[in-house]
Structure formats: structure tokens, C-alpha cells
Amino acid sequence: MESLTEDTQRSAEAYAERAGSRKAFFTDTSICIGCKACEVACKEWNRNPQDGDLEVLGSSYDNTGALGANTWRHVAFVEQDQDRIEKARESGRKLVSLGMPRVGPPAQAGAAAGAQDGTAPPDTAEFRWLMSSDVCKHCTHAGCLDVCPTGALFRTEYGTVKVQEDICNGCGTCVGGCPFGVIERRDEGIIRAKTERAQSKYAQEIPNEGTANKCTFCYDRLVDGQTPACAQTCPTTSIKFGDREDMVESARQRVAELHQQGMTEARLYGANPNDGVGGTGSIFLLLDEPEVYGLPPDPRVPTKDLPRMYQRAVLAAGGMLAAVGVSFVLGGRR
């Protein structure tokens, strides 16, 4: 059963000379200061409408909630006490001791070993406040791209995934196709925010209503050789941007560096090309289990199982034909 998942090499070749090297984000959450500049810069550049009902959401300093049609960058805030930190370190050590084959070139021998005996972790042990800027993953095998019937979603020459807002007819199948719950249709329900009702003067004109919306990796800036708005504005460069190999390499160096400092809870998310989505275009350095940040622990692009699904569908169709045949044979005789 040959796989139906995308061969990004072939997609790049289809662009011939226009194909640039694949671009990617590396988000190092260990230096994120939760300032949300990325959220604002993204909204300002893309003219995305203000979101939500202007109420406290009950999730520490996060009143944005989640990624969606109007919010393409979302900063998560998680407050953790001592035992949660210890659990995160434990799961991190487990990850290291799994004898995971090094992804890519062998990191210095000391990295893994260093993590074992673990020099003393940083001094604030009894409390920590995790912050992380979430974004579309721009997966190697992108669920949204695969299931899109109109070709509105496409793999750009930079290896990123973008919605062509002039093509999308808002069928919504991509929303279900994304294993990370990133893309969303800009519907009637999620736009009529409180600003609409309370102060008409703050109502914004809503672009691309009814179509699917997600991070475009600032495609319009990339074609002009510019840095995406969020990466440019990030004060501490927690959001790094560049060619994917460089991003993966700096991610690995950073996680090794943190392990040497005893922060065994540091782990990478999306750097492994053999994972369920073929590795992502946004690599994260997390300090706890992915689900603590609202990320799926073992995402898998549905396309991987599509051949089997088609096979089952053909079988069922055959069964149906047989059933009708049999029923006419039985029905005919009486």
C-alpha cells in the first residue's frame, strides 16, 4: 500500500527555479517572556479581526485562548508548582534514557550523559511559569493540505503551507484535517465579538469572511525576502526563523545546552522527520509534556491511513453490491 503522504522534495521540484530552501520557525520557549508581541504583530500585519468576548478566560495571563481563524499566534501561560516541575524533569529524563537514536548527526556524547547525572537544575525550584508562543506547524505531511478539495491550501515554494483566500470556498474539511487544531473557518459566530455589540466604532472590517484562515508564514513577506512579522518583533528571539536545517540544528544545540545545565525537562517537538506528520516547519523546545501546552502527544496525519480507508471503502462498496445482488436473487424467486 504505497503511502499517499506528500513528497516535499517533489513538490519543491514542481516550482523549478523558484523553489527556495524550506523555511521554518524554531520557538525556544525557555526564553519566552510571554509579552504577546508576536500575537499583536501578526494581527497588525494580516489585519486579523480582534477576537473573543473581551473577558478574562481563566487561564493565568492568557486571555487569547487558542489558535483560530482570527488568532494565528497564541501565547500559552502555565503556572506550575514543585511536584509538577519534578514530573516534567522525570518525563524528560525518561525521554533521554529511551535510548532514542539521535535524530540527525550525533550530538556531543556529553549531552545525554550530562543529563543523566544532571547538574543542579536552576535555582528557582519551587515554582515556574511556562510561556510558549504557539503557531501553525506547517507540517511536512500537512493534514489540512492533503484533505483540501479545491487546492486552496498549497505547499509554497518555501515549504510552508498557505490558504489561497481567493480560492477557498469554506468547505471546512481542513479544520478537521489538522491534527493540531490550528486552522479554522472565519464564521459568523466567532467574529461578532463584544466590540460589535458594545461599541460599533471599534468594529473592524472583516477580511476573508467564510474562508479557512491560518498562519500564512507571512508568505507575502517571504516573497519579498523579509522576515515573518512575529519572528522580527520577538524581543528575546524566542521565535527564530531561517532555513529548516539551521533551525533543527540550533534547536538541538539549545536542548543539549539546557540538559548540560541540568534542565532535563527540555525536549524538542517536531524536529523528528519520522514522526506522525513527517516533522514540522515550526520546531518547539518545550519544558514539559506537549499536552500541558495544549499540543497533541502523538499527532498523526490522517493521510497515512488513507490507503487503508480507501481499501475498506471499496470493500464496503463491494459488499453493498453483493447485498443488492443477493436480495434481488432472493426477492426475485419468491
Partner: protein, 188 residues
């Protein structure tokens, strides 16, 4: 519905190009192929400084037809290296905010509502009131007979986003008018 010419139809392009699965080059629309950044048609790009906090981050202000279209960090600045915080990144919305009041408003004594007022007339009314207050509360000497030559009739409280040149003119004008109750956010 873009005009589907036979050859332009993505299904055909899928068959004719490497992108047979219809996930990339074959499905791009004309508009996508002609994508350019929103600021590419800006008339001017000006180097400015963020109006919010005292770090003094550099800003590049893009304007078109005398209207600001985009503001982002200025990579040349040795202080901010092209970066901005959430407030700095929202500067374009500060400049074009729907909440901005760009016409003079006047509230008469005991009135319940604003009324509009011509700017020129407003400045005249303010000038008259200032001179009246100045005259009414003028003091030549203090109770010990020392010269003070000042008015205690009006005061001012400035924010800390007033340019140096503006501060200079305000202090110069009000001091010459004899006012001493000139204050600023710098003390609050």
C-alpha cells in the same frame, strides 16, 4: 470564479507538471503567484521611535496617501535591533485607532453633552481664559515682600511623551506668562 482556461485548469496542470497530487505549484491561483507584501506600494518609509516606554525602540513607519499603513521594528537600531513589544507592535492601530477623536469638542458649563467647536475659535477662547485667570491670580510679591511676579491662576500637567522641543516651548511660554504650576508625569 477565475476564468478557467483549459490550460490553466489545475487538473490539467497536475497532469503536465511534477505536482501531480495537486498540493503545490499546480494549484496556485494568479493572485497567489502575484503576491507582494502589503507595504510594497507604500509612498514613504520613515525612521521613527516608539512612543510607548523609555527603551526607545526604533520603528519604521510605512505610509501611503498620507495615511500610515504599517509600523514595524527598525533593524538598524542598536537598542532594539528591529524588535518591538506588544504595545510597539500595535503602534499602527494607535495611529489609526477607531477610538481616536480628531475633531475639537467643547462642553459648556452644566451641559450634559459635548458639542463641536471650530479649532480656531477654541484657541481664541483658551487664550482669553488664560489671560483672565492670569490677571485674576497675579502676584507681584510674596507675603515677605520678595518679588515673585507670577500667576497662580492656571496650571498644566503634561504626559511624558511630549517631545523635547514641545516641552521647551511650553516651559518657555508658561514661564514668560508667569505660571509656575507646570507639572509632568515625570514626577508621578
Amino acid at each position: 470564479m477565475t476564468r478557467i482556461t483549459p490550460l490553466e485548469w489545475p487538473v490539467i496542470r497536475q497532469l503536465r507538471t511534477r505536482d501531480s497530487s495537486g498540493r503545490g505549484a499546480a494549484v496556485t491561483s494568479k493572485k497567489t503567484r502575484e503576491t507582494s507584501p502589503r507595504t510594497s506600494d507604500a509612498d514613504t518609509v520613515v525612521q521613527s521611535i516608539c512612543p510607548y516606554c523609555a527603551v526607545g525602540c526604533g520603528q519604521k513607519v510605512y505610509a501611503k496617501d498620507n495615511r500610515v499603513v504599517h509600523i514595524e521594528g527598525d533593524p538598524d537600531s542598536p537598542i532594539s535591533r528591529g524588535r518591538l513589544c506588544p504595545k510597539g507592535a500595535a503602534s499602527e492601530q494607535l495611529v489609526n485607532s477607531a477610538g481616536r477623536q480628531t475633531k475639537v469638542l467643547y462642553r459648556a458649563p452644566r451641559s450634559r453633552e459635548w458639542e463641536s467647536l471650530d479649532l480656531d475659535r477654541a484657541i481664541d477662547m483658551i487664550a482669553d481664559r488664560l489671560l483672565t485667570a492670569r490677571r485674576k491670580h497675579w502676584e507681584d510679591t510674596d507675603q515677605h515682600g520678595n518679588p515673585v511676579r507670577r500667576t497662580m491662576g492656571f496650571a498644566s500637567l503634561g504626559g511624558a511623551t511630549i517631545d523635547n522641543e514641545e516641552n521647551y516651548l511650553i516651559k518657555k511660554l508658561f514661564s514668560a506668562a508667569g505660571a509656575v504650576q507646570i507639572e509632568n508625569q515625570a514626577r508621578i
